[in-house]
Symmetry: C2
Subunit: 93 residues, 2 copies
Amino acid sequence: MLMVNEYFDGKVKSIAVNGGDLPATIGVMAPGEYTFETSQREYMTVVEGKLRVKLPGSMDWLVVTNGETFTVESGERFELRVARESAYLCKYE
Amino acid sequence: MLMVNEYFDGKVKSIAVNGGDLPATIGVMAPGEYTFETSQREYMTVVEGKLRVKLPGSMDWLVVTNGETFTVESGERFELRVARESAYLCKYE
């Protein structure tokens, strides 16, 4: 059964996909600002759209677009700014 | 509001994402065999996993993996064989 998850009052939705090398989710983010906390290392790849991310310990906003990936270690917090609906793939390790 | 759609008794689930050049959905397919009918031209890209597709007018099964895209014109039918949970991005034109 494919699991659908919702966060931030439905402004972020994801579907689990477990056929690859690592457990993963694909999801869509509506425009907005979000703070995420990791419980595993996360590899976030933008599939369609653009995300601005402030990585742990950084003061700068990094622009991440189609095909680009950023990594956040477990137990960290990162912030995202989303200007238009964007799709992502997140792998967990 | 992010739209989640289900097909084939929940074995295929998708989320609409409308921030790019074309309307699109990202989704996950559980293992199985599926026949789709198009009402628009569709550009299907495998995000994570592997799909075997029999394109309209073809007798052969084409293997499509991460980052690869196939196109199906509007008003056509195509078949998919999915061996393991796989994620895709579909753009509509």
